[in-house]
């Protein structure tokens, strides 16, 4: 996957391998969401291009699903209805099987018939992740998916996402402004600058999962990113 420059983004040149978990990290408003929207085909770049498996991206595609913050679930559908939303081309029985599988995978058993307003923020986010996974995409784009959750739920959701990623082996592009989050999740962290965003550094997170958040290597990598962004790790 590679693309060139746009107005809010400059000289972004990035290759992502199949099955890789990449975090795009940058300050708020730096253009990282724009970047993800371009990659997903929602926004056309003013210059440069995005290619996936040699094929140029011009429009959104069910092989690559975008996961919004929890507000992306359809409020008029139940959890089950949401998860099965993209499965309209499948025969009824296959659809039912897939829904059951993903309800189970994201731990929503017992809430199949609940409407989103009856679910907590974390559960809504599970519905959205399940809805994305149900169509069996190659790639997931996650745009600060846990940004609206409380910090405890956020930690749980990160662990869940890693478990799902390891089970399903999708390529994941994950946008966040949370340094800790990126170091906990990613194989590689792409550190963006402020606007116009360019890539400051790409950090390999060479720690096996499950990651020990108090290991010296974790702290070292985390602090190096803090330093890169120009923050002293002190309050």
């Amino acid at each position: 996957m590679r693309f060139g420059s746009v107005d809010v983004l400059q000289h972004i040149d990035l290759d992502v391998r199949e099955g890789e978990f990449v975090c795009i990290l940058g300050p708020s408003g730096c253009g990282k969401s724009t970047m993800l929207n371009i990659v997903a085909g929602f926004v056309e770049p003013t210059g440069g291009e995005v290619t996936i498996d040699g094929e140029r991206v011009t429009a959104p595609d069910p092989r690559r699903i975008f996961v919004f913050q929890e507000r992306g679930v359809f409020p008029w559908l139940t959890a089950e209805g949401n998860i099965g939303f993209g499965l309209f081309r499948l025969p009824e029985e296959e659809r039912r099987k897939r829904i059951a599988h993903y309800v189970n995978l994201v731990g929503l058993n017992g809430f199949e018939h609940a409407f989103p307003r009856e679910l907590s923020g974390g559960m809504k986010q599970r519905v959205e992740v399940a809805r994305a996974l149900a169509v069996n995409p190659d790639v997931l784009y996650l745009d600060e998916p846990f940004g609206a959750l409380d910090s405890i739920t956020r930690l749980q959701m990160r662990a869940e996402l890693l478990r799902i990623w390891q089970a399903e082996r999708k390529t994941i592009l994950f946008v966040t402004h949370d340094i800790e989050e990126s170091v906990q999740l990613a194989d590689r962290v792409v550190v963006l600058s402020a606007r116009p965003a360019h890539i400051r550094r790409i950090v390999d997170i060479d720690i096996a999962h499950p990651r020990d958040l108090s290991s010296p290597r974790y702290i070292q990598l985390r602090d190096s990113i803090f330093a890169e962004i120009g923050l002293a790790h002190k309050i």
């Binding site: 429009a59 975008f66 993209g86």
Partner: protein
């Protein structure tokens, strides 16, 4: 220890007091205000020695008299049929038109000035034309009720479409929906849960217009009851009785729509 028990006891008393108070606030207080209004009404009639305006007792008697006649029930039935026809027609035409105007911004921009000119015209201004076109028949008030509710519904539906979160549309596109599929599976359900309030407002206007149109365009219904009571014998007790019946029926219908609205809201 004792203190704690005291506090518990106090808590129990406090909570039952809260229940009582909330019951009083939701039922008792409105009832009290109603009773005070009736007393003030009675006193005002008494002290002003008016010959025209009836006292609450006169009106109660008039309502009893009306309820004894089958005429009242026929009039209520006629009025309900008219408002149901006009309003349903407005919903069936207004919601799809509004959705299209919201969905195609160019069409919206082209049609919007026309709507904005027609909308502020009171539906009652159409009355002379309605009478010429439809004569003394159900069609005239139905037409006026349709006009009254059509424009608010179109505007609400168009606005509903324009405020559908872009995320929903993006998600729909992402899952490979074609434009018609996107319309049916995303836009319409998103709009329906957003325009419930607009539908209720439109019904309120329809109910107001119903009574006025029945005063002129037909010879039955609640509006006609009022104008007929005055013309036939200056029976102002019947006039006020008719007014009260209209108010109560309007309230009941509004409550029903609220019910429907919260049901739709549950799907949000």
């Amino acid at each position: 220890m004792q203190n704690e028990e005291l506090r518990k006891d106090g808590g129990f008393l406090h909570s039952s007091f809260c229940v009582l108070r909330s019951a009083f606030n939701s039922v008792g207080l409105p009832l009290l205000v109603g009773i005070i209004a009736v007393i003030l009404w009675h006193a005002a009639v008494r002290f002003s020695r008016t010959e025209i305006f009836p006292s609450p007792l006169d009106v109660a008697r008039a309502i009893g008299q009306l309820a004894d006649q089958s005429l009242l029930w026929r009039y209520i039935g006629d009025s309900l049929v008219r408002v149901a026809c006009g309003y349903t027609l407005a919903v069936l035409l207004g919601v799809p038109l509004g959705i299209l105007l919201g969905w195609y911004p160019d069409a919206g921009r082209a049609v919007n000035p026309l709507i904005q000119i027609l909308r502020p015209i009171s539906p009652l201004a159409w009355m002379p034309l309605a009478v010429i076109w439809f004569g003394v028949s159900n069609a005239a008030p139905i037409f006026l009720i349709f006009l009254a509710s059509f424009f608010p519904i179109v505007v609400a539906a168009a606005h509903g479409v324009r405020t559908v979160p872009p995320m929903f549309l993006q998600a729909g596109q992402n899952f490979g929906l074609t434009a018609p599929q996107l319309m049916v599976r995303v836009v319409v359900p998103a709009v329906l849960s957003r325009i419930a309030i607009g539908l209720r407002v439109a019904f309120g206007v329809a109910w107001v217009v119903l009574v006025a149109s029945e005063m002129i365009a037909v010879d039955s219904g609640l509006g006609y009851l009022i104008i007929d009571a005055r013309n036939a014998g200056k029976r102002y007790d019947l006039v006020v009785a008719g007014m009260l019946i209209i108010g109560v029926l309007g309230l009941i219908l509004d409550l029903l729509l609220r019910r429907a609205e919260s049901w739709a809201g549950e799907r949000r």
